[in-house]
């Protein structure tokens, strides 16, 4: 037990109070933001950090990849501005290479909290903005091969200085982004949430005193590290390794290898990505903080889902990733689609630790963060629109039950946009939203099915940009479970013709006599299909999720008994 002057009960109570602050800021953004991305999909996060910029408390619904970004920003603020930070300052940044970010659409903000002259900590938040400029609408298209094409790069800057908005900076930002009105609304929601957080944290400070608050921050981080190390100690000592291959980077590089070796000894664990391919031209590269987010997510989910997510987790886990590699890229690497790569790193961790914790691991998921952007001009209003959607897919099978069909997996858990909301807001029609038959990997427990979404522009021509992964390399099964199926994008004409699209489909012209069909990958099975129970098989049969030939091929033991002659 750590030596401390704060008693553990007072600490638990103060921790509760801090969680309340982070949650209140989160809800404030959710309700006041303007973009669909935040309102319906909750693609935002909030947190509290200490004076060194270490993350201490996050909102309940905060996303792992955002925490890594915020952590990068906060440490950068302390490094860059140090003693010059003043009350009323508000910092903004998004750049992955100089400001700790993971991709440009995630704009970070942070505001310091003071007791007199003494810096006590920060409140921070992040929103995934639907567009931050660059070559492609939505700033997320495949086919972009350097960071400059991906949007406006914002180093760590003061958006407010001593309480005053730097209006010129705001003008510069908005001028470089499509849909400036929506951006202004979202940025204002972030500013308001920062102010709210500072107010609440100041109230706590007045009640507890700054010294106590600082001690509480330290205790939370060190106890989290201790708890994570205790969980790590339960893993059998040894070396575990795994490799997986990503389809391509959208710029001509195919079969990108991610190699992982895990060395575990006592309470220590090291994730070594030596042997991973070099960074690629396309925008799938991971910054150090993105890789850290993925590894920490995977280990926490396997060993202790309830442990707090803060700097203490980072302290408990060692990561080695060669600079300039796919998992620790350097300038001018493009990174917009790094979420797909994060998903795959999580799959790799599960694959590596399958023998160590077979009861906890999940077979390969759809391994992607399949996304699509529809952009154009709304013929009803003459206004430009950008619609970003992210699609779930199969979740891998588990030791005791099937993988879930058509769901967000691993580090993402953002909800879909209701069909009725899409069609009210955008000149688009959703024609189908369904499970894709036969995409599951068979097994004692089967993998989840992928999903199909079919969208058509109404009365206008729009642009389609899609990003998919595991369109060539199947999601693998575990312990004899079969592989799941790959995903695909194609256009379907009213005449029935199908036009296959690239997995990283960029700037595809979509006319109203065509619909874009997006099918996401399924997921791997767990255990030998020969061991599947009759009950589960019969459920598969009744559900209509599988063809007769799929069932006959994968579960021949249940083939209809031959009728006796005569």
């Amino acid at each position: 037990m750590t030596d401390s002057t704060i008693d553990p009960i007072a600490l638990e109570i103060a921790w509760n109070g801090l969680k309340s602050v982070a949650d209140e800021c989160f809800i404030s953004i959710m309700r006041t933001a303007f973009s669909t991305n935040v309102k319906e999909r909750h693609d935002h996060s909030t947190a509290i950090a200490d004076a060194q910029g270490r993350l201490v408390v996050q909102a309940e619904m905060a996303l792992p990849i955002h925490l890594a970004s915020m952590s990068g920003l906060l440490e950068g603020i302390v490094r860059k501005y140090g003693d010059t930070i003043r009350p009323g300052d508000l910092f903004i940044a998004n750049d992955p290479h100089v400001a700790g970010g993971t991709h440009l659409p995630d704009i970070n903000m942070a505001m310091p909290v003071f007791e007199g002259d003494r810096l006590l900590g920060f409140v921070a938040n992040i929103i995934h903005h639907a567009d931050v400029g660059g070559a492609a609408v939505g700033s997320m298209s495949g086919g972009l091969d350097e960071i400059y094409k991906e949007g406006l790069r914002i180093p760590i800057m003061r958006l407010h200085s001593g309480g005053a908005l730097q209006t010129e900076l705001m003008e510069l930002l908005l001028l470089n982004m499509r849909l400036p009105d929506e951006r202004r609304g979202d940025l204002n929601a972030q500013i308001a949430a920062c102010r709210l957080g500072v107010l609440r944290l100041s109230e706590m400070m007045e009640e507890l005193g700054g010294d106590v608050l600082v001690q509480i921050f330290d205790e939370i981080v060190s106890r989290t590290e201790m708890r994570m190390r205790t969980a790590i100690a339960t893993l059998p000592d040894g070396e575990y390794s795994f490799e997986d291959v990503m389809d391509d980077d959208g710029c001509g590089t195919e079969d990108i290898r991610i190699a992982l070796k895990i060395t575990k000894s006592g309470e220590s664990i090291c994730f070594d990505f030596d042997g991973t391919d070099p960074q690629v031209p396309g925008n799938f590269n991971m910054t150090w903080s993105a890789t850290q987010a993925a590894v920490c997510f995977a280990l926490k989910a396997l060993l202790d889902p309830e442990v707090a997510n803060n700097h203490g987790i980072f302290d408990a886990i060692e990561i080695k990733a060669p600079a300039g590699s796919f998992v620790n890229c350097v300038f001018p690497a493009a990174v917009a689609m790094r979420a797909n790569s994060c998903q795959r790193v999580v799959d790799c961790v599960f694959g590596a630790l399958a023998d160590a914790v077979p009861e906890q691991v999940v077979a390969a998921t759809n391994g992607a963060n399949t996304s699509a952007v529809f952009a154009g001009t709304d013929p009803r209003t003459g206004q430009a629109y950008v619609y970003l959607e992210t699609l779930g897919g199969g979740m891998g099978a588990r030791a005791t039950h099937d993988g879930k069909d058509a769901v967000q997996v691993n580090i993402t858990n953002t909800s879909n946009l209701p069909v009725e909301a899409i069609e009210l807001e955008y000149p688009l029609r959703v024609e189908e939203y369904a499970l894709v038959a036969d995409t599951s990997g068979a097994g004692k427990y089967r993998g989840g099915l992928g999903m199909r979404r079919v969208i058509r522009p109404v009365d206008h021509v729009c642009e389609f940009n899609g990003v998919g992964e595991r369109f060539r390399h199947k999601p693998w099964g575990l312990f004899g479970g079969r592989d799941g199926a790959t995903g695909r994008f194609f256009l379907r004409g009213d005449d029935g013709a199908e036009m296959k699209l690239a997995p990283k489909a960029s700037r595809v012209r979509l006319a109203p006599d065509f619909a874009a069909v997006m099918e996401t990958p399924g997921a791997g099975g767990y255990g030998d299909p020969a061991e599947r129970s009759r009950c589960d098989y019969e459920a598969d049969l009744a559900s209509g999720k599988f063809s007769e030939s799929y069932l006959a091929e994968n579960y021949p033991q249940f083939a209809a008994p031959k009728r006796a002659a005569g």
Partner: protein, 695 residues
């Protein structure tokens, strides 16, 4: 054996409220003429909940010598729907939906219930995939027909459904039906004609609001619950009719009002969350008797706590809620529930910190001090260690074992290296901080300052924690109603008949209010029609108009009450657009701390809540003088040590009595802690008001 009614002295009609809970079925009756109140409690009969209602009613009238023929209203709160849903015990339902969307109910919002828990999933849909059918039709986002619904398609569907003799209900769920209900209506009519024995739920009838998954899910739940709930209500209504022939029959809904039995049979989903709602309505009424309109309720039970905010005597309303993983979108009393109660277990995590709940010892094995086999330290054990729970609960043939509580807590105290009492206080402080967090969620996070509210405690353990929770939030007053154990049954008697109407629109405020007035006019027409048909015995009525407003481009709406004026011809007039904008800005600022006077505003729903006030007697019952009972002194831990504390029986207190803490007030079903510097008085209404003297 029944007493002969001619011997009865108590004249006047009676109103009866019956609330079925998991453990007890509570009865409350109020005499319309004299204001007399009678209560009764008996064990519930979960296998057949109606039995406890009917048997209990007979016991009740016998015990209190009430003439059953003088019962004019029977108001009932039931958990039949809630339990059927929790246990997935409902009808085999067919879903018919727009072509291309058979799997929509299964995909839901494509999210997992917990980001980091790899083993936990949302539940499978209530209708299996082989019973979900598609039909060729499509309405667009302006209500236009994109693909017509053909008779041939309907005939083909009906032929297919005939292959499934096992089905017990049908849910009709078509896209954009909230804008244009023609296809749903046509389909439902054909299905009802083809399957006269099956109940058909139609999404536009259940809740005509946008966001298809939530609307479809609510409709499916309705169909799933319908056979069982309507059977239950039919049976009960017949039996109550036999026992109390003059009683009108009202069923309590989650929105906080009563509906007719026929409505309840059509829309059983409206009762799915009605249990705690009745308590909130009872609390609002109880507060009104003491002229306190701004209240936060705290109901602490064995495994969970419910909190609810009441402003100006009205309970806050939520539009959406999940119940065991299923989404319900309906107006309902906004009850926030957390996993913290008397049975919540304290555990030390590997980080050396203590957590309390959500794991609970439940009723079995229960807290250690109950001596039913529990050995883990719970919140009740902590209260027992500190002597806050008297050894003998009033009226119960039940003695608490403090020694067992001590045994359960000792390992925790030893591991933390602190004394037993400090560990016990720690458990209580932590559970209190969880409750404080829940109250902040419903107050501070929605722009309400809890310091301006009184905290009303009820439920078995509410009074044990109320004073400390209130202090932590800077609240100044705690209110304990006269009979906290039957607040739900009380709420049933006090409830109005209520119906909610909604029209989804998408109107820019800048375009003026004329179209809005037209919508309001239609809503008022529906409301008046409902009053004439469903609320014939109403003694007064209220029509409340709400507009769900937001900035153009936002997706969260603020429900804002609007003063509509109705002239003698029945024409509805609304305030002008500028006035509406001002009201919106003020509400927005209260909720979020800022607003933008330039950004355009839109209205997405117009809602009308119609209240039909029923006869009731709000007079305060004159309490029979009781002998002041003997006050014992016991040793109770407060802050730093044990203090001499008066143990007072509530039954011995009368209006006007006043005393200073420390004290413990006990009554049949609850125990209230009065800290040392608090002052208690019993007011005219019989409520116990505790002033905390915070600074």
């Amino acid at each position: 054996m029944r007493a002969n009614s001619s011997h009865r002295e108590k004249a006047g009609d009676w109103l009866v409220g019956v609330d079925v809970g998991g453990t007890f079925t509570d009865f409350s009756a109020r005499n319309l003429e004299t204001g007399q109140v009678r209560v009764h409690k008996r064990p519930s009969t979960p296998d057949d909940p109606g039995r406890a209602v009917i048997d209990g009613l007979a016991e009740f009238v016998e015990k209190h010598d009430i003439d059953p023929a003088s019962i004019t209203r029977f108001a009932h709160g039931t958990t039949v729907a809630t339990n059927a849903l929790l246990q997935r015990r409902g009808a085999k339902v067919v879903v018919v939906t727009t072509r291309g969307f058979r799997d929509l109910l299964e995909i839901g919002r494509q999210i997992r219930p917990h980001l980091y828990d790899l083993q936990r999933d949302n539940p499978a849909p209530l209708a299996s995939r082989d019973l979900r059918f598609e039909i060729d039709e499509r309405i667009g986002s302006r209500g236009e027909v994109v693909r017509p619904l053909n008779d041939a398609a309907i005939a083909a569907l009906i032929a297919e459904l005939r292959q499934h003799p096992e089905i017990e209900g049908i849910a009709v769920c078509l896209l954009f039906s909230y804008l244009n209900g023609d296809h749903e209506a046509k389909l439902a009519e054909a299905l009802r004609a083809a399957f006269p024995d099956l109940l058909v739920s139609v999404s536009r009838e259940v809740q005509p609001e946008f966001r298809e998954y939530e609307r479809f899910s609510t409709t499916l739940i309705n169909a799933f619950l319908q056979p069982e709930v309507s059977r239950y209500i039919d049976r009960l209504r017949n039996k109550v009719g036999d026992a109390a022939p003059k009683a009108t029959f009202g069923i309590f809904q989650s929105s906080g009002g009563l509906m007719s039995a026929a409505k309840a049979a059509d829309f059983p989903v409206r009762t799915a969350l009605s249990g705690p709602a009745a308590g909130a309505v009872g609390a609002a009424r109880s507060g009104a008797l003491s002229k306190i309109g701004d209240i936060i309720t705290l109901d602490i039970g064995g495994t969970s706590s419910d909190v609810c905010l009441i402003r100006n005597g009205r309970t806050a309303i939520a539009r959406m809620r999940d119940i065991s993983g299923f989404s319900i979108r309906l107006p309902m009393v906004d009850i926030h529930t957390i996993g913290a109660g008397g049975g919540s277990i304290a555990v030390l995590g590997s980080d050396g910190l203590m957590k309390v709940g959500p794991e609970s010892a439940g009723a079995v094995p229960g807290p250690a001090c109950y001596n039913r086999g529990g050995t883990l330290p719970t919140v009740s054990d902590a209260n027992s260690v500190l002597n806050r729970l008297p050894q003998e609960l009033v009226g119960g043939g039940f003695t608490l074992r403090r020694d067992l509580a001590v045994e359960a807590l000792k390992p925790v105290a030893d591991k933390l290296g602190i004394g037993l009492e400090r560990a016990a206080m720690g458990i209580i402080d932590i559970v209190n901080s969880n409750i404080v967090r829940a109250i902040r969620t419903i107050s501070v996070e929605k722009g309400n300052d809890p310091r301006k509210f009184a905290l009303m405690s009820f439920g078995g353990a509410g009074g044990l924690h109320a004073a400390e929770v209130a202090r932590a939030l800077g609240m100044k007053q705690v209110l304990v109603p006269e009979a906290p154990g039957i607040l739900c049954a009380d709420g049933l008697i006090a409830a109005d008949l209520q119906e909610d109407f909604v029209t989804s629109c998408h109107l820019k405020l800048a375009a003026g209010v004329s179209e809005l007035e037209q919508i309001a006019q239609e809503l008022f027409g529906l409301g008046q029609h409902w009053l004439k048909t469903e609320a014939v015995d109403a003694q007064g009525e209220q029509l409340l108009l709400f507009l769900d407003m937001r900035y153009v481009g936002q997706n969260y709406e603020l429900p804002i009450e609007i003063e509509a004026t109705v002239d003698t011809q029945g024409h509805v007039a609304l305030p002008d657009a500028d006035t509406l904008a001002k009201v919106f800005f003020a509400t927005y600022e209260r909720n979020f701390g800022h607003y933008d006077p330039e950004a355009p505003v839109e209205i997405v729903n117009a809602r009308l809540r119609v209240l039909a006030h029923l006869a009731r007697n709000d007079g305060v019952q004159k309490k029979v003088e009781t002998e002041a009972t003997e006050v014992r002194t016991i040793q109770v831990w407060f802050g730093e040590g044990y203090r001499d504390t008066a143990l007072i029986e509530r039954a011995g207190l009368k209006s006007g009595d006043s005393f200073q803490g420390p004290a413990i007030v006990t009554q049949l079903d609850t125990t209230t802690i009065v800290p040392p510097d608090a002052v208690v008085r019993i007011d005219e209404a019989g409520n116990m008001i505790m002033d905390l003297n915070n600074d």
